[in-house]
Amino acid sequence: MPSYLFWLFSTIMLIGGCAVIAFRNPVSSAMSVVTCFVGLAGLFIGLSAFFVGVIQILVYTGAVMVLFLFIIMLLDLTDEQKRAKGFAPLAAGLSLVIAFLVQLIGILSNTPDKVAPPLDAATLAGAATHFSQGGIATALKDGRLPDVQLIGQTLFTGYNLPLQILGVLLLVATVGVVALSKKQAE
């Protein structure tokens, strides 16, 4: 990924993220989340994670956030009231963020840069040795990246147990949403 694209998408993400909390109108905040996710998708695609990048746009930006917008509009939320903020909490928050940033910059300057191997035909063919015969191995030998199959393979074989736990987690979250938002019976 050319570095100017990385900086471009990172800047979009950061601006989107800051705008979420800066806007007082919930619809504007939700749109800022969309901006943030578009930048994130760009980063994923730049890192050759094409499938994840596309899913990020389709599922999060396209489906989840649009649903959020619908709900916000249905509820007809008004702008958040402007609250008087004291100087002390603001200063404390800012100083924590700055301390964290300074530390991060110090560590990043101490850490050697690693260059990711280019995703060319030779690398892909080399990776094919990890897989026995099958669609994945054939595609890799041909110099294509079967990322959907690779993600599926990883999720449903190697990472099967975490996937099952995630299933339980989603169920718990659903039950919780119903239990907490149920209309009160008379």
């Binding site: 560590i107 339980v168 039950v175 919780g176 239990a179």
Partner: protein, 493 residues
């Protein structure tokens, strides 16, 4: 029986309870809690028969990729038993607390909204059991989130009570922040070592490949993960949520948070730190970090507990204080040997004694809350005159929390001090002595209210049957393990 059956059974039990609760029309929902407790006791009976892949290398299941995410050793078994026992007691506590739950969930007159309150702890229990077997940071993270998300719901469960909702929002926001730190830390550890498998990390740190690991980045990752886990266990400076959330949450949830959530944070911390404590590269800085955390936690938890007037809030500060002692045991960094107890074993013994005392106190607190309609220390006034047996049990439990000799609490504190002395952490020992002395003051303050203050117009407090049985068992266990701790030690061997 392969060990992963235990979690599978627990999840199945949780699903069955959710289904049954939805389809059985019954006015009272207490039977869901009774069924949950019976089911969990049933699963608990299976734990001695659970085996890992080493015990049966020939069988088909021993070769599954599942074992990349799941380990089974005596420590894992101990924490699985711990999670099950905690959940059983919390569910029993919830049964006796259902009057308050019903008042603030659906219609005040019906128990319609309370069924999930018995099923969700069972699912959280499965998450804690998976955490006890954590071996890979990705799997551990997912299990930890299962526990945390369940707690978000359980904390805000009394949705028509402002305090509970406020606690729920606070816990959600700070929990999300801590998750952010945890994931960022895991990303740094992964970026530095190239793997999330703790065994592989241990291997890399040992052999010649360690030169290729960027040490600053790895230490930064460890520090960030410790921040994330610090939220779970309530270590200073990540303890800010504890007093408010403990006070606002329904009492069974508070009990579950202070015992179950803390224990799962500690077992994950023990598993996570193991590779870094056994390598000379990272051992020094990591021990220093835990030492500083432990001193800050001991000081803050104990000194801030002194002026408290609300008993539930006091227990929140007390849980911070106990986290300080547990961190002190970890800071000694003693590896377990055949004859002596290592840091991980001492933490486990301490948590086991902490479970007995804390849950016992919560059982009594819940009934005082219901029958005297208040949770402050003054609501315990004159309990010694109106119900001397109950007051005696609470006195024993509070004395054990303070660490009076001949109670289980003393054994835990003694083992921690022993480790710290062996490791020569003199500054921390000094702070821990001040902390323990402060503990005597604020716990015995409640004892004073019970025995030396007149009850005034306060109602008579009597325990219902389940609470009475649980308090009796927990109090007697506190006394028995104070003299004879061998059963807990045997569980760890």
């Amino acid at each position: 029986m392969p060990a992963y059956y235990l979690e599978a059974l627990t999840v199945t039990l949780g699903l069955l309870l959710l289904l049954a609760e939805a389809f059985v029309s019954s006015k009272s929902k207490a039977w869901v809690g009774v069924a949950a407790a019976i089911g969990l006791v049933f699963i608990l009976a299976f734990t001695p028969f659970a085996i890992g892949p080493d015990a049966s290398p020939g069988s088909g299941w021993a070769k599954w990729t599942l074992w990349n995410f799941y380990q089974f050793d005596p420590l894992s078994r101990f924490y699985k038993v711990f999670a099950l026992v905690t959940t059983i007691l919390v569910v029993l506590l919830a049964i006796d607390y259902r009057k308050i739950l019903a008042r603030y969930t659906d219609h005040p007159g019906s128990e319609n909204g309370t069924g999930e309150f018995y099923a969700l702890p069972v699912l959280a229990c499965s998450g804690m059991m998976w955490l006890a077997s954590a071996k890979d940071l990705a799997g551990a993270f997912v299990a930890l989130e299962l526990v945390t998300v369940t707690f978000y719901i359980l904390v805000a469960f009394m949705r028509r009570n402002v305090g509970s909702l406020e606690a729920g929002v606070k816990y959600l926001i700070l929990g999300a922040l801590s998750t952010g730190f945890l994931v960022y830390g895991i990303a740094w550890v992964y970026g530095s070592t190239g793997t999330m498998d703790l065994d592989l990390i241990a291997g890399m740190l040992e052999d010649g490949r360690s030169a290729s690991i960027p040490l600053t980045g790895l230490l930064f990752g460890i520090a960030l993960v410790m921040v994330g886990l610090g939220f779970k266990i309530g270590a200073v400076p990540m303890q800010v949520w504890i007093p408010d959330v403990y006070q606002g949450a329904p009492t069974p949830t508070t009990a579950f948070l202070s015992v179950g959530s803390k224990a799962s944070g500690f077992i994950l911390m023990i598993h996570f730190l193991e590779p870094f404590l056994s390598s000379e590269l990272t051992r020094g800085p990591v021990l220093k970090l835990i030492g500083v955390l432990s001193i800050a936690t001991l000081l803050f938890g104990n000194l801030a507990a002194i002026p408290q007037t609300n008993f539930k809030r006091l227990l929140g500060y007390s849980s911070i204080a106990h986290a300080g002692f547990l961190l002190l045991a970890l800071a000694s960094g003693a590896p377990g040997t055949d004859n002596g107890l290592g840091s991980a074993q001492v933490v486990s013994v301490y948590l086991a004694t902490y479970l007995l005392m804390t849950l016992g106190v919560f059982f009594i607190l819940a009934q005082v809350r219901i029958q005297r309609d208040g949770e402050s220390i003054t609501d315990f006034n004159g309990l010694g005159q109106t119900n001397p047996t109950l007051a005696l049990a609470l006195t024993v439990l509070l004395a054990a929390l303070a660490g009076v000799p001949l109670t289980a609490g003393f054994i835990g504190k003694f083992l921690v001090f022993q480790l710290a002395v062996n490791a020569g952490l003199w500054a921390a020992i000094g702070v821990a002595f001040i902390a323990a002395a402060a503990g005597f003051y604020y716990y015995l303050n409640v004892v004073r209210a019970m025995w030396w203050v007149q009850p005034g117009q306060k109602a008579h407090v009597t325990l219902p049957l389940i609470s009475k049985a649980c308090v009796a068992v927990l109090t007697i266990a506190t006394l028995v393990f104070g003299i004879w701790p061998q059963p807990i030690l045997a569980l760890l061997k």
